[in-house]
């Protein structure tokens, strides 16, 4: 059976659609011709790009007036589904808002949501999703057994975004019902943290540092090397939790998933939490003192050595070019 209809959550920041949305749309198009999107905000600004990525219709709530996406968008989706617009599958990014909406919707519909998937397929009359577990060493396939719509979130970089060349999507109103007390949380103010250089999850080169750096000011070497390679600096969870660098630098299961051409891991042992976020890199270079570090199991070039000796020389060699 081909799926009759899929809805995809459209994430927008300052009128720009997030890469994860376009990635998920590309996958959705392989499952059905009838791909529709929904957005917790105005629809006009995104209709053209969504149309170019194969979306026929975008269901838009309009401005949420500072309301949180989770409660409002989930209530609107539940009402639309109960009103007869039910898709077979609702796809979200495994992102802050994606998870919130999916979680609230799962309660409204009393159906499970399966999170952190990297693939979805049809198996006879069923929808089956794939989720890597134990740091990506095993893949669990799960079938939705509760009837439609199936709810699933997908990790960034699981699919490749691709334009399909359609015209602007039709914009339809997604009515938000009264949500009562649950809707009382508000966003008062938004802050965009300015970063220079390429974004961590879009950079062709990522240089990440971990606890092996020893102390926080040694992270300067990571920043310097990333800059020389026109890449982005990243970090393991250990040093983010230790407060050396902001959360935005974190590569891993609970941070960013990256798939650069080159990933350089310096002083990172390779905890499963970290490996999940960087294993998909095309080429991996690892520098670590411990020859038994798990990171060497995935590295194309592994250097058993002291980052405090190797990095300064590497920086010097690159500066000399």
């Amino acid at each position: 059976m081909a799926l009759s209809k899929i809805w995809v959550h459209c994430e927008v920041s300052e009128d720009t659609i997030a890469p994860i949305t376009l990635e998920v749309l590309a996958k959705a198009r392989t499952l059905t011709d009838q791909v529709e999107a929904f957005v917790g905000g105005p629809g006009d600004a995104v209709a053209e790009t969504l149309g170019a990525h194969g979306v026929k219709k975008v269901h838009a709530t309009g401005d949420l007036q500072g309301g949180m996406q989770g409660v409002h968008v989930a209530a609107a989706l539940a009402a639309a589904i109960e009103g007869g617009e039910a898709p077979d599958l609702v796809m979200f990014g495994s992102t802050y808002d994606g998870r919130d909406i999916a979680a609230r919707l799962s309660v409204k519909l009393d159906k499970p949501v399966i999170t952190n998937n990297t693939d979805v397929e049809e198996d006879g009359d069923s929808i089956v999703v794939s989720e890597p577990i134990f740091g990506g060493t095993e893949i669990v396939k799960t079938k939705f057994a509760a009837g439609g719509p199936a709810l699933a979130t997908f990790r960034p970089k699981s699919f490749e975004a691709e334009e399909a060349g359609g015209g602007a999507a039709e914009v339809a109103e997604l009515a938000v019902p009264e949500v009562g007390a649950a809707g009382a949380a508000k966003i008062l103010d938004r802050h965009i943290e300015e970063t220079s250089g390429p974004k961590l999850d879009e950079a062709a080169v990522v240089v990440s540092g971990g606890r092996g750096l020893g102390e926080s000011d040694k992270f300067d070497m990571i920043e310097q090397l990333a800059k020389l390679l026109k890449g982005a600096p990243g970090a393991s969870r250990a040093i983010v939790d230790a407060g050396w660098v902001p959360y935005a630098y974190q590569v891993g299961q609970t941070g960013k998933v990256v798939k650069p051409t080159v990933y350089i891991a310096a002083g990172i042992s390779g905890a499963t939490q970290h490996m999940v976020g960087m294993k998909g890199s095309k080429n991996i270079v690892a520098i670590n003192k411990d020859p038994e570090a798990p990171i060497f199991g995935v590295a194309d070039l592994g250097i058993v050595g002291d980052v405090h000796k190797v990095l300064p020389k590497l920086i010097e060699a690159l500066q000399a070019r």
Binding site: E11, A18, A103, R104, K108, N116, T142, I187, T254, F296
Partner: protein, 259 residues
């Protein structure tokens, strides 16, 4: 100021995980308090301290009556704990877990705030806090980096993809906190001794009025059809640094034409 904290007792993440033949996670060894939850416990203790009155109540669910993780959080300073333990919850998915936790939170009368980690370190579905909030009909803010309470309102800095949002909600509310939001305290010897005599109620799901068929395997609405090893990434060359390893890296990068 009464704060309920959802905590999970998990297998030690330092040990390699394994599945039982029925695809549930093996939990034979000693369970520990999920490190992610220590941030919620610490945050709750600080908020109660600051308010000058009230207490912290822990809520947890475990299939086998395990309490060692709860004792750790009690030793940090929480006043009491409610554990839901029942054979019927084996195989519970995130939604089932949320139903059980929400019912247990309902037993903790007069709470102002529910805190949780954004996700557990074993299942990491990341949906339970919002599902609990939806079941309790509470406003909620997830991924909190900073939490302040004043005049019946909780103010939160919420992590976003590009930076952070400043959010506000009236109480009662649910807030999920990110790792690193505060520095969790270590239990003192006095705290560890005191924890042994703190109230720890163990309930079954029927105590909560939940039907055994509604949660766990029978209520899951999802079925694991396959578990198989992921395609392995092959290890490449590993060399010992002889003082010239940096040149090898430059050569490697040159070959990839990224320089």
């Amino acid at each position: 100021m009464n704060v309920v904290v959802c905590v999970k007792q998990i297998p030690d993440p330092a040990d390699p995980g394994a599945l039982n033949p029925d695809h549930t996670l093996k939990r034979d060894g000693k369970l520990i308090l999920d490190e992610s939850d220590t941030y919620g416990v610490e945050m709750a203790l600080q908020l109660v301290d600051k308010a000058g009155e009230g207490e912290v109540t822990l809520v947890s669910m475990a299939p086998n009556g395990e309490v060692s993780g709860l004792r750790q959080a009690l030793a940090m300073g929480a006043a009491k704990a409610i554990l839901v333990s029942d054979d019927a919850i084996a195989g519970a998915g995130a939604l089932d877990t949320a139903k059980v936790l929400a019912a247990a939170i309902g037993k903790a009368e007069g709470y102002d705030l529910v805190l949780a980690a954004t996700e557990s370190s074993d299942g990491y579905t990341g949906t339970v806090p919002e599902q609990v909030a939806a079941l309790l009909d509470l406003p909620s803010v997830t991924f909190a980096k900073e939490v302040d309470i004043a005049d019946g309102t909780v103010k939160v800095r919420r992590q976003t993809e590009e930076g952070y949002d400043v959010c506000e909600s009236p109480l009662p509310a649910l807030v999920s906190v990110t790792a690193g939001v505060v520095e969790p305290r270590y239990p003192s010897f006095k705290g560890i001794m005191a924890a042994k005599s703190k109230p720890l109620d163990t309930l079954t799901i029927s105590d909560l009025g939940i039907d055994g068929d509604a949660v766990g395997w029978s209520g899951a609405g999802q079925e694991i059809v396959d578990v198989s090893p992921a395609p392995e990434r092959e290890a490449g060359e590993v060399i010992e640094d002889d003082g010239e390893a940096h040149a090898k890296i430059v050569e490697f990068l040159d070959g990839l034409k990224v320089l």
